[in-house]
Amino acid sequence: MSGLPQFARGAGRWLRQVAALVGKEWRQLLRDTALVGFVVFIFTLDILIAAGAPELDLRSAPIGLIDRDGSVASRELAGRLRAPYFDVRAVADDEAQVARALERGQLRAVLTVPHGFERALVRGETAQVQLVVEAADSNLGYLVASYTERILALLASDLAPAGAASDTLPEVRLQARFRFNPALTEAWYATISELLTMLTVASILLPAAAMVREKERGTIEQLLVSPLSPLQIVLAKVVAMAGVVLVGSTVAVGLVMHGLLGVPFAGSPLLFFSLVALYAMTASGLGVVAATFARSSGQVGLIVLLLVMPIIMLSGTWNLRESMPDWLQAAIYLSPLRYMVDIAYGVLLKGADLATVAKPAALMVMLGLAFLVVGTARFRRQFR
């Protein structure tokens, strides 16, 4: 007889064994009601919560105004520092009192309009205005200054003397358009970020914790004396948890995000969910590697925190990847989420096709294979 049918029979049995193990993982997970409830929560309600996330913008930021000019122009300025960004209020012209209000956080900034402000504007001279910003939060501090600057520039050009020379001076008008999310709807960004975060935590933690549990209880010895190879055991954990995560993200994206919240789905669903499955397997592989370093659940919890937190915080969902120091940018190439961020935003919001995301997808798969090889090798070494 030829070897081919025999090989096929062997492969079939190999796969059936993996499938049986996957079924065992699922049954085990389903019996842990608290855990099942929580997994359901992170892919449904939690995504809804993320849609109401705060956004980095000013909302009625309290601004104090010291008006030493008391002119029409300065009152016009006060009128323009308005909702939704600012909430302007007159404050006493007293340095100590102003400093105190800034320290207490009652005011975000204080704007001082000096005497002669209007006269300077009308005559076409430079009008000086002072702004003191409480910048304990550097982002908000920057926004306060840049919005005030914009409002002042507009006021100046509106109040400039008619037919002024400035009309013939060179000017570049910069128009900005926001692509892929023209109105900067926060919910689109926040729900995708949250989904990626939850996907990552669940994909790494579920198999890692399941693996260490077998070690702690000693049930892993039973698996090892069974006719199963380490690769089968590792693969079953990876596939089982990736399956759970895939179902979860289908519900999250299809029902909650696209269905309920109207987040666009510009690209191909088949492409997106295939890549989610690959991502979940890659991240699960990392979870398995982490589990081989731990002997107890306490240890694995801490090891996973050490891996998961930098991955979810520094891969580009919550930070500006480009602005990190070079050594961190280099290190983050080892984070599977780094690739998935480009893929997820690319396919969901930007309508990226396979050709566009091929490079990050390929790198992600290579990383996943590396995790699988290292995980299996370390697993084998621990028990042989």
């Binding site: 504007l121 304990a136 000017e171 306490g298 919890g301 915080m313």
Partner: protein, 383 residues
């Protein structure tokens, strides 16, 4: 409740921690690593952002305009052929975040005194960075305009009554208090105390309680005279001690390593750390009372901490901009109160006279959560 029994239990916990070398190492090294990596990485500084220029004018004026952006540390030239840039693939595959289009009549318009139009396409998928990047683009554009005007006026091209007034009709002198250079690390590093102390103590305590449930060691407690309160306090004391030690260590590292000044009162801030660690540990105890497996304990405490840090703390964005439901949910967790205290005490040097409501909230939170955990905890598990 007998103090001797509580101390005996706490001593047993402490011994267990001490004997698990890896665990002990992680419990102290992990917070430090997270602090350092996050302080460097969770930056919101706008630096090295990829910018593609499509210069259809190709004149000295247009090249100079583009150079105005690329010569700053904020933007770097992203390589993309014209076709790719126009088809926006550079934005789609995330090679660049901005495509700057300069039209064919740029120089002619400038010389003729007509406004020259320039279009910046910004990747809006990341809303937060899109807003900041927009701000920087506008600031650089305004600066270029001021330079152009100064040159034209100096060359006698305008009959202005006052050259300065034409170049810059309003001058805004801005002074940034507490963080004069607007370095994001000054904002981020102190906030990490909130994050790290939200992650580590709940995980430590939840695992240590649930381990006894899962291994069955809890039956020893169930059959003994030890009360639930004594058992929980025995668990709580070592973890709170580790958490507070971590907090003090991070406090010093933020000052010494990251150079963020601490202007507040030392005993007041120490008190805030103790209260916050009690509150977050209580959260861990609450989780441990409701789950049976360590797997569930790890996952639920970790994910809860991540959700609270990202959504309910006001770390990335001010909570005032959140939806009313989210603001109400944020009240259920201690992170926002502690973050307000951290930022206020570190940089602004504010004290208990300002932050007594937040400190009281932490006290109330710690008491409530610990009481609830006590009520829900059973020595006899159904597992």
């Amino acid at each position: 409740m007998k103090l001797a029994r509580v101390l005996a239990l706490a001593g047993k916990e402490a011994r267990e921690v001490r004997r698990d070398r890896l665990y002990l190492l992680l419990a102290f090294v992990l917070p430090l690593i997270l602090l350092v990596v996050f302080a460097y990485g969770m930056t919101t500084d706008v630096e090295g952002i990829g910018l593609v220029v499509i210069d259809e004018d190709g004149t000295p004026a247009s090249r100079r305009y583009a150079e105005g952006f690329l010569s700053t540390r904020h933007f770097v030239h992203a390589r993309a052929d014209a076709a790719a840039a126009r088809g926006e693939t550079a934005l789609i595959d995330a090679r660049a975040r901005v495509v700057l289009w300069i039209g064919p009549h740029f120089e002619r318009d400038l010389n003729a005194g007509r406004p020259a139009e320039v279009l910046a396409q910004i990747d809006g998928a990341f809303t937060t960075s899109a807003r900041t990047i927009h701000g920087y683009l506008e600031a650089i554009n305004a600066q270029t305009n001021a330079e152009l005007r100064t040159e034209t006026v100096a060359a006698g091209g305008a009959r202005a009554p006052s050259a300065a007034g034409v170049v810059a009709p309003v001058q805004l002198q801005t002074r940034f208090l507490y963080n004069p250079e607007l370095r994001s690390v000054v904002t981020v590093a102190p906030s990490l105390l909130m994050l790290v102390l939200l992650l580590v103590p709940p995980l430590l305590i939840a695992v240590s309680v649930v381990r006894e449930k899962e291994s069955g060691a809890i039956f020893n407690i169930a059959s003994s005279t030890v009360t639930r309160l004594e058992f929980l306090l025995g668990k709580l004391i070592p973890v709170v001690a580790i958490g507070v030690a971590n907090g003090l260590l991070l406090w010093v590292v933020v000052i010494v390593w990251f150079g963020v000044p601490f202007r507040g009162s030392v005993p007041q801030f120490a008190l805030a750390i103790v209260l916050y660690v009690l509150a977050t540990s209580g959260l861990g105890l609450l989780v441990s009372a409701t789950v049976r497996t360590q797997q569930a304990a790890i996952i639920i405490t970790t994910i809860t901490a991540v959700i609270v840090a990202v959504q309910f703390a006001g770390m990335f964005a001010p909570l005032e901009t959140a939806s009313p439901v989210n603001r109400a949910l944020a009240r259920l967790f201690p992170a926002a109160d502690f973050l307000a205290i951290v930022r206020g005490m570190y940089l602004r040097g504010a004290g208990i006279d300002i932050f007594w409501p937040e400190l009281l909230a932490l006290v109330a939170y710690a008491v409530l959560v610990l009481a609830l955990a006590h009520a829900l905890f059973h020595k006899r598990t159904t597992a």
